[in-house]
Symmetry: C2
Subunit: 697 residues, 2 copies
Amino acid sequence: MTNNSFEANARDNKTRAYDDCWLRLDGIKDSSFQKNYRRCLESVYCKADTRLAKTALNELLSGLTRLTGSSPKVVDDPESSCIILSILAFDKEIDSALATNEIAKLQPEGFLIKAVKDNKGSKIYITAKTDKGLLYGVFRFLLYLDQQKEIGKLHLLENPKNPIRMINQWDNLDGSIERGYAGRSIFYQNNILTTDMARVKYYARMLASVGINAIAINNVNAHKEETRLIADKIHMVKEINDIFRDYGIRVFLSINYASPIDIGGLSSADPLDDEVAKWWVDRVAYIYKNIPDFGGFLVKADSENRPGPFTYNRNHAEGANMLAAALKPYGGLLIWRCFVYNCQQDWRDLTIDRAKAAYENYHYLDGSFADNVILQIKNGPMDFQVREPVSPLIGTMERTNQMLELQITQEYTGQQRHLCYLVPQWKEILDFDTRAKGQGYPVKKLVNGSTFPMKHCGITAVSNIGTDYNWTGHYLAQANLYGYGRLTWDPDLATETITEEWIISTFGPKQELIDTISKMLISSWPIYENYTSPLGIGWMVNPDHHYGPSVDGYEYSKWGTYHRADFKAIGVDRTVAKGTGFTRQYRKDNYLMFENIETCPEELILFFHRLPYTYRLKSGKTIIQHIYDTHFEGVDQAIRLKEQWEKLNGMIDEKRFSHVLDRLKQQIDHAKEWRDVINSYFYRKTGICDIHSRKIY
Amino acid sequence: MTNNSFEANARDNKTRAYDDCWLRLDGIKDSSFQKNYRRCLESVYCKADTRLAKTALNELLSGLTRLTGSSPKVVDDPESSCIILSILAFDKEIDSALATNEIAKLQPEGFLIKAVKDNKGSKIYITAKTDKGLLYGVFRFLLYLDQQKEIGKLHLLENPKNPIRMINQWDNLDGSIERGYAGRSIFYQNNILTTDMARVKYYARMLASVGINAIAINNVNAHKEETRLIADKIHMVKEINDIFRDYGIRVFLSINYASPIDIGGLSSADPLDDEVAKWWVDRVAYIYKNIPDFGGFLVKADSENRPGPFTYNRNHAEGANMLAAALKPYGGLLIWRCFVYNCQQDWRDLTIDRAKAAYENYHYLDGSFADNVILQIKNGPMDFQVREPVSPLIGTMERTNQMLELQITQEYTGQQRHLCYLVPQWKEILDFDTRAKGQGYPVKKLVNGSTFPMKHCGITAVSNIGTDYNWTGHYLAQANLYGYGRLTWDPDLATETITEEWIISTFGPKQELIDTISKMLISSWPIYENYTSPLGIGWMVNPDHHYGPSVDGYEYSKWGTYHRADFKAIGVDRTVAKGTGFTRQYRKDNYLMFENIETCPEELILFFHRLPYTYRLKSGKTIIQHIYDTHFEGVDQAIRLKEQWEKLNGMIDEKRFSHVLDRLKQQIDHAKEWRDVINSYFYRKTGICDIHSRKIY
């Protein structure tokens, strides 16, 4: 089994400097259980021989070896095999063992895992219509086994609920990562590829194991060196694509809209200029000549000082469609980010509201985009704050391909020094009812294309990984990457289910571990919100790096990010009645809900309304007292996180135990900083005392 | 005259990418005047032949060529020469033409320039006791001529009033400059010397022309590459020293206190460890072997995360004396910065006062330092703010060599985008009466060693130059470098005198130019103060880069920089009676002056006292109204600066005219930003309206 020994051996390879995350597959400590597994899983039959099918087989073999402690045999006779790995319509006899109605339910990326009893005993079929589906089936099977569940009655039929399940790397070629908190890029250093492409392969495995099928491999802010990826540095893309291809992941590039000028020697990048269009056609041809299965482009245009069609008085449909046309013959996609707003705003100007920007820039273009263009829309109207309403673009564009953009990397949520598990936040977003056609149209049903027909759609997110041995800086932040992948596959999965899966795969199946870590993870976002940003305010962070409190940090800035706090009130009024009218961008029911202070969700009340500090919330507390209380409580909760973790001492290996403990200690210190700065700021501004007379500076 | 044609020709050399500043020597446009000059200055006699004397002769020849439009002859017979350049005691006959009592007054770096009539007509003697004095005499003579003054009765005897007149470059080897606002380093790029050492030579000329005699050529924060300057990169220092030597400027290096560990392979940098001391002895021997006239070290230790003796529980006398001992045999000096404070302060802790740090760290060590150690003391107790009191260390240490540290680069004063002429600020500092031995002991008499005897003392400052064609970013910021040099030579010079000299040398002698630019320069610091930081508060700037307003930018930080503004009061109480007791660090008369709110200078009142916004200043205005008024006025004044400049259109070449105009426009915009942020902040916090109902946001 020389082919398959790589992964099994790799664990013992002292030179590997990184953690196996949820693919460690070492959860089974019970030897009788393991023995039973070994017996039922001792042989594999697989005749499919595409590259992806080979990946699937190799993953299965090495995964089973790790799980059972013994390498399965690969057998030539399906009759004598415990496991049948097959692509449908390849071997009719094998197909016939499965129910036709089930097979009919399978979509191209779906899989069926089924234990079938025949006269010779029990067999496990892992089958799919494509080799990609087969790979997902294998990973699902392995992670299922890792949960130590019964396999005798195994019966899983799954199709991914989103066509595109994507990751955005904000990696720069120099090796830095924009908003990266886990070391340097695993892809690049010094403008070339790193010497450790094995790590990139491992990352591809991790992503595929949770169903990710697309990746943009460089920062949306594409600068000089990155622009060369579509020219003389194409070999770098090719090398990365060769790795991801084997895991069913399509590779995309973030491009510089001004490439025709910057590397093409043209004087313009006007999308309606024939010469420019021709340049892109040639460029795309060049890329596909090198990489026939290249995914397409991701574009950040006219945003935060990046070039774009606005320079030439063209709208974004004109800007995008020109590129889409170049990609179209090859099946390439053009993903266009809607994060476009005025980043040179005068803070004195009360008439502009950045929250309105995405809708204003894109809504009127609904129906104007080519069918291989996808709009990538950030979950909220601002920028990945701790708490934001859902973007009003989602649910109001009916004839445009759309993709939801989330942020796994914790830019505004503690930068992987604080514990902040984002699955609960994402669930809230995905479940938010857009009222697109009345009640019952949550975001997840918009971006999967089931509400309004879309040719391409799905979910994407900014990655949180880097060269840190544990990939994500904070060890527990791995759960965010895992959870993100699982949610893109199935947004209906319960937070608790995802959380438990991850904990077992990572720390094993001990109930106390599951209970404690699950509780810690699921409470962590509300805790972070408590000691940081109250009631939907946002932006109370230090400029640029976005870590730590600075209440006025973005208040007098050009970024359109204001709370307008004075001695008596705080918040921007975004109502139609008295404010910027942002609320009107939503479907009517949501507009009325946010517009009306009585029905506006309180956790967002200062996002939509400007209120005096003495306004009483439904809890009976004034806003100022709510600020004080949540900030004191948040710190107490952070302290309890550490106490919970300490109880796990001895149940987790020392390295991981003390790593997490150290981060939790840092979190407490920094939570106190947040508490004291926020409370002091508002006390100093309002002169209103805490009714409990706690220490405010 | 091949030797001397270099400078004269250089002006026409299109390849020179930089401005001649005050050494352009092209002020004489009046042709009859020029003709007269030419006649009186047509020949030079000089027999001195040291390198410095040769520099002096060459500078004289090329300078006269530029001034008169004709190259003087070098003659062998003093009798037939118009100008006699001589070092005293070299030629008795020449000496005898000068009065003995005058010669007696000359100190080693001084010079005598005298027009002497004999039977053959008038001769000009430029004479000194050393070749260095001769060089200063030549530059003084040239700049005197450039002012188009009469030469018939020329009679100048000058000695510098400060022994050390130094410049600190905060240049890093990678070519960046810490707090540099005029491009990159003229010395370094990519960790080697730049390819344009001619520019370094020109800088040496500029510095020597205003009397500078020492320079530290790298940033006080010496990191990895800079540490190598005392090891395998010594050749870089040697090359720079070869240039500065010819202009009488001693070269110093900023060193890394942890060098014995970082490059020496030792496990400690403990100053009392024999092995460490031995390492430095060897290192210093190595440096002097390469550079026999090396100046010595400048050290920033135990400051802002730099290593130092505190690591080993040694005080700073122990830390400095060890290095001084190594330098002593070669006549080297050890300059030790007193900018030492706790930069990890908890902002909640009201018991610590950063202003007290320098005194607390050094005053008790008075008399403990070796006689070749000099303490370098920043002018104020904080850090080059727009307005600070003078450091209480100056005037209270009686048995320690001291040097005043100023900052020419405009870190907190507009970063050479705003016009802020600092000579008036420096004059105030130099003239501040320390009361060291009663009335009449201004700072300038402390740091020149005339109040308490010092073996080494003087003034140093952080340079403001870089690779920008005009050296200083803002063209008019050249005046700060010029003015600084002149003040180190003679702190008694009037601001108006220095300013006029610089204007004439730079823009010519037209009276309207002199009047307008002089008025602009001299009013600029108070204007900048008006629209930025009121009443001695300081630190209301954006963190890190220090440009632009952020009232709370340093409020909740670790840097010890707080205004503690709340809804009713602002300022830190530094009195003995109710505050941190900082006032007590001054001599008694000053202590009482600052302690008492009635006698405390109002421009510093919020530095020393915490006061309610409703406190009435002597003007009758409340503090809050004073804040509003000065900020509105400051902007109006900035607008007037531009209007004044615009009147000079046509009197100045277009390039310089429009450059300065552009900066002045930027200044107005940015002054408005300052005004509106500061006023809005205080209005939002206090709720107190402007009595004139002007627009506050």
